[in-house]
């Protein structure tokens, strides 16, 4: 039945066929979204790098940044990554208690991070750095605030997942991808923070 080669590889498929499950689709989808989000953050970081020297009448990064607050926030986010990892392991074991035990602290740590950022921003505004005063202010608040919004959305997502699990009172194997998805997002937000911490804060302090 097989005729001389058409298209180089005529013939039935070799190997076995596997139709992707919705969970696999979701995971690839999340990865693509995160890759796209990377490009978004890259644009904002390029904007910040291009404009951060424009402090004009407003305060500059050197006098403004208090690295102690920021490094604390970094550790908070780092811890939340670890607890998220533990929560994910629990979810993959279908361990209902484990999920609650690890994901509630994750959300709380995330919230703490957002709280610290709100505190930090308020502090800066009081010192005269606003969105309007200079483009350092505008690009700083935009970039860091955009990351803060990502963290906030992550907290909302984790919370919604906790509510979902809490109502079911159990974790199914079928739900594992939901935890994987949120964990990927959470780690990604953490990765972006590493970049922001280095590029904005540490380098800003160095000048």
């Amino acid at each position: 039945m097989i005729e001389p080669s058409h298209s180089g590889e005529f013939g039935a498929p070799r190997g076995t066929y596997h139709e992707a499950t919705p969970a696999e689709n979701n995971k690839l989808g999340i990865w693509l979204w995160l890759a796209s989000d990377c490009a978004l953050f890259a644009s904002l970081i390029a904007t910040y790098l291009s404009l951060h020297g424009q402090t004009l009448a407003g305060p500059g990064p050197k006098q403004l940044f208090d690295l102690r607050i920021t490094v604390t926030a970094t550790f908070v986010l780092l811890c939340s990554s670890m607890t998220m990892g533990m929560g994910l392991e629990a979810a993959q074991r279908c361990d209902y208690r484990g999920v609650l035990r690890w994901l509630i602290p994750t959300a709380v740590l995330g919230l703490a991070f957002v709280g610290m950022q709100v505190f930090e921003f308020t502090h800066y505004v009081l010192q005269g750095l606003t969105l309007q005063v200079s483009d350092f202010g505008a690009s700083f608040f935009t970039l860091v605030g955009f990351h803060g919004l990502h963290v906030s959305f992550g907290v909302a997502w984790i919370t919604s997942l906790l509510i979902y699990v809490f109502r079911k009172k159990r974790v199914d194997q079928a739900d594992a991808w939901r935890f994987e998805a949120v964990s990927l997002y959470w780690y990604f937000v953490d990765v972006v923070w590493v970049v922001i911490f280095t590029v904005v804060y540490l380098m800003g302090k160095v000048g």
């Binding site: 190997g15 992707a20 796209s36 979902y164 194997q173």
Partner: protein, 663 residues
């Protein structure tokens, strides 16, 4: 085929009983969403065409005042935006939606609900953008909307200054928010198509057997997900500038007006390829079918697509040769821009080589494909001329550039889309378009297009800048402007004939049957229009041009794939499958591979949630535009509510029994 007997027999076919507006609002069927895209984009196309018509009336004679400067500036801005974002791109997405799952042998896209959401956000974005006409002026600073004119009223060194004086410049806020909405939708489409193509191909549909339209879709989607974020960021900064008084694009606040241009063209140049890539794909389907030959140089076609996509990210500054980046940067970008001509040339020659040695049927679709080749080559050549910076200093922002962009976007993308319409309309509607009327429409459109746009090359080098509302009589621009406007009338006549053809076909068109063109791809192996479940049994793909392979070597029907026990000739193969690995974690919704499981085909249920989500986000958009925080917050809360509803809403789906005869 033994497997054919496994088809379900004797069950009452459950056809698409749903109809009416609500069924369209709640649909998650990729084919219906595709039709929504196609119809909507056609409507926007005629709106954009009307805008162009008014502009050409104004420019037919010197010093004319058919419309005022204010309106003219809105017209050319909205014309560009409408044609690019609301007509050509969604028309491509419409075909992608309808055809890609069929061409890869899938039952739907990976995320049917996200797909519906993409459409509703595109529509919402289009409506928000156009609502500017009624709510305080449409956008008026060109489709690329350069800074700092786009920031409008601004405080500059303590003085409140309107950088866009004259009209109420509210329109650019509609631009910023409307395109943001549509952009989110497009981004989700991009993700959706990539996952669909990577994960959901039928057995045997290896990467190097993918139809080229699917390849171009994949690469277009990659361009979308990596190019749109730059625009998202840009629009975000613009929104902040316009509504919150930041100064990203205001020099007085330390801003940089070129920041907008850089980010815009990082997006904007890939966007041009987002527009033209699916067109390449359609041409690569149409020419082999009507030449009765497989595509010439498949591998080099794939390589060319990938190369063009990669280079598309490396050339953006050629739109900015005259902003003063210096000779070195200009030379680098000139070089990369010229290099794009190489893979593009490979494609052109491969298409012609496909025709050579074939048996060519000059259907309307094929006519449009040939028209595409002629016009796109002209557009590509003026593109090379524009890539020479010293020449570009004369060409840039002149009518030469207007001619170029229309040769690639009308002569290129739109002609290809018309070829696609005449090619796939029978599959989508089940009825043939009239070939006689079709040929009339082609010749009128082709001649009208060239009469309109070819003279613009002359106008450009004779000193007519683009975006002028009028030109004085003493410049020697009278003749070619008159000719161009005359051409528009021919073009319009062609479009009217096309509409008449659509109407005639939908009323009394000849029934198409499954395979009216002696097709080569999987989409022609199923009935027209495609049933809800697409394939009664998942087809087994045995080569490139799978249906043609079966016509030549088999009995002309696709062999159903049988899970576990494969068709006899499949056993010989080893384990060398090029497709990617997946994790078999199971989970609900894993569908049967065929109808053989006895309970029909599992399909997702319709849902209004994407529609509601789009409405909530639109409410937030208007709250932002009109600076009403309460409404904005309300809309955002609604958005999040529906986002989480969508995430946690379990869709049990329903089962459809395939119809008796799927052949």
């Amino acid at each position: 085929m033994a497997a054919v007997t496994e088809r379900l027999v004797g069950t009452a076919p459950r056809t698409r009983s749903e109809s009416g507006v609500w069924s369209w609002i709640t649909t998650v069927d990729h084919k219906r969403i595709g039709i929504l895209y196609l119809v909507t984009s056609l409507c926007f196309f005629f709106i954009g065409g009307l805008e162009a018509f008014l502009m050409r009336l104004q420019l037919a004679t010197p010093d004319a005042h058919v419309v005022s400067e204010v309106v003219f500036n809105e017209l050319f801005t909205m014309h560009g935006l409408t044609m690019i974002f609301l007509a050509i791109m969604p028309m491509s997405i419409g075909f992608i939606n309808y055809m890609v799952p069929l061409q890869i042998g899938a039952r739907d896209v990976a995320f049917p609900r996200l797909n519906a959401l993409s459409y509703w956000l595109f529509l919402a974005g289009g409506l928000v953008l156009n609502s500017g006409w009624l709510l305080g002026g449409a956008a008026n600073a060109g489709w690329y909307n350069y800074a700092p004119i786009n920031i409008g009223q601004h405080v500059i060194n303590g003085v409140s200054t309107n950088l866009n004086p004259g009209p109420d410049s509210m329109g650019i806020t509609f631009y910023a928010i409307g395109l943001q909405l549509a952009g989110i939708g497009t981004l989700m489409s991009g993700v959706n198509f990539i996952v669909t193509i990577v994960n959901m191909r039928a057995p045997g549909m290896t990467p190097m057997r993918l139809p080229l339209f699917v390849w171009t879709t994949l690469i277009t989607s990659v361009l979308i997900i990596f190019a749109f974020p730059a625009f998202t960021a840009d629009l975000f900064l613009l929104t902040l500038d316009r509504l919150f008084g930041t100064g990203f694009f205001n020099v007085a606040q330390g801003g940089d007006v070129l920041l907008w241009q850089q980010l815009f063209w990082i997006f904007g140049h890939p966007e041009v390829y987002i527009l033209i890539m699916p067109a390449f794909g359609i041409i690569s389907e149409v020419i082999p079918t009507y030449s009765r030959k497989t595509i010439f140089g498949y591998s080099s076609m794939v390589f060319a697509i990938v190369a063009i996509a990669f280079l598309a990210f490396m050339v953006w500054s050629h739109h900015m040769f005259t902003v003063g980046m210096g000779p070195l940067v200009n030379s680098v970008f000139a070089a990369t821009s010229m290099v794009i001509a190489v893979p593009t040339g490979v494609k052109i020659f491969n298409w012609i080589a496909t025709m050579i040695g074939g048996r060519i049927r000059m259907t309307t679709s094929m006519l449009f494909a040939v028209g595409f080749l002629v016009c796109f080559v002209i557009g590509g050549m003026s593109g090379v001329m524009l890539a020479v910076p010293p020449a570009d200093y004369q060409f840039n922002d002149s009518y030469f550039l207007v001619a170029h962009i229309h040769y690639v976007l009308i002569g290129g993308a739109l002609f290809a889309l018309f070829a696609g319409i005449y090619y796939w309309f029978p599959k989508i509607s089940g009825r043939m378009l009239d070939e006689h009327l079709g040929k009339w429409s082609f010749w009128l459109i082709f001649i009208g297009f060239n009469v309109t746009f070819f003279p613009m090359h002359f106008l450009g080098v004779e000193g007519m800048p683009r975006r002028v509302a009028s030109y004085p009589a003493n410049l020697d621009l009278r003749l070619w402007n008159a000719v161009a406007t005359f051409g528009v009338f021919i073009l319009t006549a062609g479009l009217i004939v096309f509409l008449a053809n659509l109407r005639k076909s939908l009323r009394s068109g000849q029934a198409a049957g499954a395979d009216p063109w002696d097709g080569r791809g999987l989409e022609w192996s199923i009935p027209s229009p495609a049933p809800e479940y697409n394939f009664a049994a998942v087809p087994l793909v045995r080569g490139r041009d799978p249906l043609w392979v079966e016509k030549t070597y088999g009995d002309g029907h696709m062999i159903p794939y049988v899970p576990g026990g494969a068709a006899p000739e499949a056993e010989a193969g080893g384990h060398g499958h090029a497709a990617a690995e997946g994790h078999g974690e199971g989970g609900p919704g894993g569908e049967g591979h065929g109808a053989g499981h006895g309970h029909g085909i599992h399909m997702p249920n319709p849902t209004p949630l994407p529609f509601y989500l789009a409405i909530a986000l639109t409410v937030a958009a208007y709250g932002t535009i009109f600076k009403v925080p309460e409404i904005m917050v309300l809309g955002l809360l609604g958005t999040f509510f529906f986002v989480f509803r969508l995430i946690y809403d379990h869709d049990p789906g329903h089962h459809v029994l395939p119809e008796e005869d799927a052949g």
